[in-house]
Amino acid sequence: MNAPLDTYNNPYIPMMAEIELVEALTERESLFRVILPEPLNHRPGQFVMAGLPGIGECAISISSGPDSGRILEMVIRKAGNVTGVLHQLNKKDLIGIRGPFGSGFNLNDFRLSTGNEDIVIIAGGLGLVPLRSLIIPMMENKSEYGTVHLIIGSRTPKEALFRSQIKQWKQLQDCNIIELVDDADFQEWDGEVGLVTEPIHRLILDEKKTQLVLCGPPVMYKFVLMEIKMNFNIPDEQIYVDLERRMRCGLGKCGHCQINHVYCCKEGPVFRYSQLADLPEALT
């Protein structure tokens, strides 16, 4: 009668993954590449709960493409207690992973075959991390997608992420990449200086056939959306935002990540702009 529950069914127990690589990207951010005991089979834009038993866990965006099998890449910023401890881990150490969680993107919504011409991806700061899982499959199968416009903003050159990979993407056909920093801070910088809102008006888009994706710090959304609305007439269903909340359980139960009636961890973190009309708390 008191037989223990099948632990396989316990949604709170993580699988333990081995760290293959930890690479410091900036002062605060490191790339973690881990090998999972089984493939994650995630969609772009989904996230995992990463952590250590006895310490805690936090929501971390998946940064690798959907075809990465047992390999999972994450960029972890040292921001709180758990991420601080994760930053002390090394190659060969184990890390706990639960997931994948959340809605994510459907790549079919972006393909040429579904009538799309332009894809605009705007990333501010760490916003590039989850969007990388969307950009990678597009770059790997470039012929299936139309023109990809990437606007990538960072605070300073030191904080710019994945620059060598971005350089490779620039070589691809129909790939328009604009890199910006808020402030070059007297460092070497070959991109532009300014906010991610600035190049938006320069884009040349087939508005009705454009899919636009947006991810960055909370303060960015309002201004970028304003700029987009001023310059283009892209239908709200074709604009996506990837939001941050305090995910705890990942199961749509604990309530911490709730935005009005939706759970960010379950129905999000990717939302269509058309959904946000009903979610006034989303862009606060």
């Binding site: 310490i55 709180g80 601080g84 401890v85």
Partner: protein, 257 residues
């Protein structure tokens, strides 16, 4: 090398250190992991640098304040231990009384006259304000309560020793009362400071049939106006309410004015 932790006491009853010594099981486990220095209640030894310095007691005299600044400069983490260090505790009530009057209240008029005349006594009573540790140096963590909670102490030390940042939720005592299914103090015909006071104590006073007097201090978001109104509605006088707020929280900004 084992991390060095140290305890320093200022104006306090040293009850917090006793509270710690009382939980021998935790304490002995801990001794295996750290080097303990300057623990007056246990051993005495001096060390130049401390990984964690625990400050017990409120700060009264100028020399105490200088000593505190010195400790801060030699410590990686500085923790205010207990109500005296965190918010002044009962001794800070003297902040509301002129020093001379205070002296008279305690030692009588004759004594007051004597110390007012004799210069040698001046430094003894001439302090003007009882201060919390945070009014003088940066405090990394607060272990609140009179006495502090041994459980929170353990959480803090475990976290710091394993390179974590301890986190203590800023919730009212009511949260813990509900978790323990306590009957609300107001429903028992008494009054309580729980709704505006820092929890973390597991509502220990209410669990044992008492009321909360906010020994952990008032929450940063404490709705004192609403609480004042609530207390008035229970027939408690303005004077009595004020006195109640000042019992433990006198060094807090809110009740200075």
């Amino acid at each position: 090398m084992k991390p060095k932790i140290a305890f320093f006491d200022f104006a306090s009853c040293e009850g917090c250190q006793l509270a710690l010594l009382n939980c021998e099981d935790i304490f002995l486990d801990l001794l295996e992991l750290v080097d303990l220095v300057e623990f007056r209640e246990a051993i005495s030894e001096k060390s130049a640098h401390y990984d964690i310095a625990f400050i017990e007691g409120s700060i009264h005299r100028e020399e105490d304040s200088k000593r505190l600044v010195d400790i801060r400069s030699r410590s990686q983490y500085l923790v205010a231990l207990g109500a005296c260090a965190c918010n002044g505790n009962v001794q800070a009530r003297s902040n509301f009384i002129a020093p001379a009057e205070n002296y008279q209240l305690v030692y009588g008029e004759e004594a007051r006259n004597r110390v007012q005349i004799d210069k040698n006594y001046w430094p003894l009573w001439a302090h003007t304000r009882v201060r919390s540790v945070e009014e003088i140096v940066k405090v990394d963590f607060h272990l609140r309560g009179c006495p502090m909670s041994a459980n929170e102490f353990l959480i803090l030390v475990k976290a710091l020793l394993s390179n974590q940042t301890p986190h203590f939720p800023e919730n009212a005592v009511c949260v813990e009362c509900k978790r323990n299914a306590n009957e609300c103090v107001f429903d028992k015909g008494m009054s309580c400071l729980g709704p505006i006071a820092y929890g973390g104590c597991d509502a220990i006073c209410v669990n044992n049939g008492h009321v909360c007097d906010a020994c952990r201090g008032l929450l940063p978001y404490a709705n004192v106006d609403a609480h004042n109104e609530l207390m008035l509605s229970k027939g408690i006088s303005e004077e009595a309410i004020k006195s109640r707020y000042r019992l433990f929280c006198s060094a807090e900004k809110m009740s200075q004015d």
